[in-house]
Amino acid sequence: MMDKEFKREIMMDHYTHPRNKREVNDENYLKKHNASDSCIDDITVYMLFDGDVVKDVAFDGVGCTICTASTDIIADLIKDKTIEEAKEILRNYYAMVDEEEYDEDILEEANAFDTLSKQANRIKCGTIGIHAMSDIIKQYEER
């Protein structure tokens, strides 16, 4: 388990300086808009694929701390991975949030959210970007 101090640093860092937050106007990217009905979160996620590789992930819009940090961290994690690897990361993230068995090593910085499951009203914030990524992968696979 990460200590609380370290988790907070990771989240502050990704919230105040998100690496993947930018608007994308490139038709080669697939995109998905996702908004919360209870929080301010209202973001669009963009993904670029090359064969079976996730080449790029970006997002823009408005998000609270949990939404922005979780989306940015997972975007980092699945970038340059194969689709199968990306799906495995997302699956483990969902498992962590659902309090099921998951592989800590594969989630790296996303372990910062390992107690999100205890904050029922923030689970939506911490999964809104991740749902969008899952949807885009599905979109790509079903093309």
């Binding site: 609380k4 988790k7 907070r8 989240m11 502050m12 919230y15 105040t16 209870s38 929080c39 301010i40 609270c64 701390t65 949990i66 940090a69 910062a112 959210f113 107690t115 999100l116 904050q119 009203n121 923030r122 914030c125």
Partner: protein, 407 residues
């Protein structure tokens, strides 16, 4: 004499909640006497009403019906039969929209409402508008969502407004709208007024005879009573002229196989099905409890709390208040640079219960320029000392602490 310490002893949740509760616009705590009344029904009085030919049912039926007398006194209407029990304010408001609106509105008519309304007082009218082709029009408000009677009266000039559907108190801005003048002007142009009293009735004396309002809706659970029960008040001639939304047992006098149906008189025709009996009995005790304290005393004390809360919050440079001149103990705010839900999460970690979001008033965004805020809503059992602790806690808020609260 208003004795808040004595009052606090009546509410077990004040000791048991484990937090300072500032979410009273969502629902209120219940005093022990209300809890006991509900429990008494299930312990010693469990039976159905209006259906049993035995002493117990006759006794409880009378207690249920006598609650109309209590509510009659509580809102000062002329006749106890003007009180319909519903599932809550939402159900009351839907009853007006579908029971009156659908049969009395048509193309060319206008439903006049506002952008501060709760979803429950706007969405049913959207549907009525779709079904009848009546137009929905919004009253132009002043800046900060304040009411302007001149602008309001302008809305009637083409004589198309048939019904005004408006909240008495905004659940986000805490403003009390001038209902007596609103009704007077509407009646001058032949329109009726449907008043959403959900945030008003629990906090101040609402006198329907004085207001001359045509319909009034409110919930029991926001006024110290049980959940799942509410009231629709309407002038009796209007109730007689309305259709019940639900049909079933209890509301009909007789029906035949050729579809002939004769409904009972109001209010029975609106109360199909076995009702929430314990809810009505609990509401009776809640209304008496509030009347014993005195609605004027409650309003005066809450006004003191409200002034104090705004005054103390104003000391914090990083807090932006959206309704500094609130008329009630509802204050909406944000902390600079921190999203509403992050603030509420921090407050929760420090044992303060508040709500963040748009508070079901999604059209308000256009008026106040923010779509999310944190809302503190106090009731007569809250104290200045709780406000002090709340302000001290907000003084220390940082983004780091908000994040820490979520992990």
């Amino acid at each position: 004499m208003f004795n808040v310490e004595k009052i606090r002893n009546d509410f077990p949740m004040i000791k048991n909640a484990g937090c300072i509760y500032f979410d009273n616009s969502a629902t209120s705590f219940k005093p022990q006497c209300v809890i006991d009344r509900v429990s008494e029904y299930y312990t010693n009085e469990n039976c159905n009403i209006h259906r049993g030919d035995y002493d117990l049912s006759v006794k409880v039926s009378k207690e249920y019906d006598d609650t109309r007398k209590t509510i009659k006194k509580f809102i000062n209407c002329r006749d106890k039969n003007e009180i319909v029990f519903t599932h809550g304010a939402t159900s009351s408001l839907n009853t007006v929209a579908y029971g009156y609106g659908l049969s009395h509105l048509s193309k060319g008519d206008v439903i006049l409402t506002s952008q501060v309304e709760h979803a429950s007082n706007i969405l049913p009218w959207f549907r009525v508008s779709d079904l009848t082709e009546a137009e929905i029009r919004y009253i132009p408000f002043d800046e900060d969502a304040k009411f302007n009677l001149e602008k309001y009266e302008e809305c009637f000039k083409d004589r198309k407004v048939k019904i005004v559907s408006l909240t008495y108190v905004s659940n986000v801005m805490g403003y009390k709208y001038p209902m007596k003048d609103i009704v007077r002007i509407a009646h001058k142009y032949g329109a009726l007024v449907n008043c959403d009293g959900a945030q008003a009735v629990p906090h101040m004396k609402v006198d329907v005879e004085d207001l001359d309002v045509d319909f009034l809706s409110f919930s029991s659970h926001k006024m110290c009573g049980p959940a799942g029960i509410g009231v629709l008040y309407a002038k009796y001639k209007l109730l007689q002229d309305m259709d019940p939304v639900w049909l079933g047992g209890g509301s009909n006098a007789r029906f035949k196989s050729d579809k002939e149906l004769i409904l009972k008189e109001s209010p029975d025709k609106f109360e199909s099905g076995s009702p929430c009996i314990e809810g009505v009995l609990g509401l009776d005790v809640a209304a008496r409890y509030l009347m014993d304290i005195g609605m004027e005393n409650i309003e005066a004390y809450e006004s003191e709390l409200s002034e104090y809360l705004v005054h103390r919050l104003s000391e914090l440079k990083n807090v932006h208040i959206y309704n500094r001149n609130t008329d009630t103990a509802i204050v909406s705010f944000n902390v600079d640079g921190i999203f509403a839900q992050d603030t509420a999460c921090y407050l929760n970690a420090n044992k303060f219960a508040l709500r963040s979001g748009n508070h079901c008033a999604k059209l308000l965004i256009d008026l106040i320029g923010t779509n999310e805020s944190v809302r503190a809503s106090l009731y007569f059992y809250n104290t200045k000392e709780e406000i002090d602790r709340f302000v001290e806690c907000l003084k220390d808020i940082t983004l780091e602490k908000c994040i820490e609260a979520a992990i």
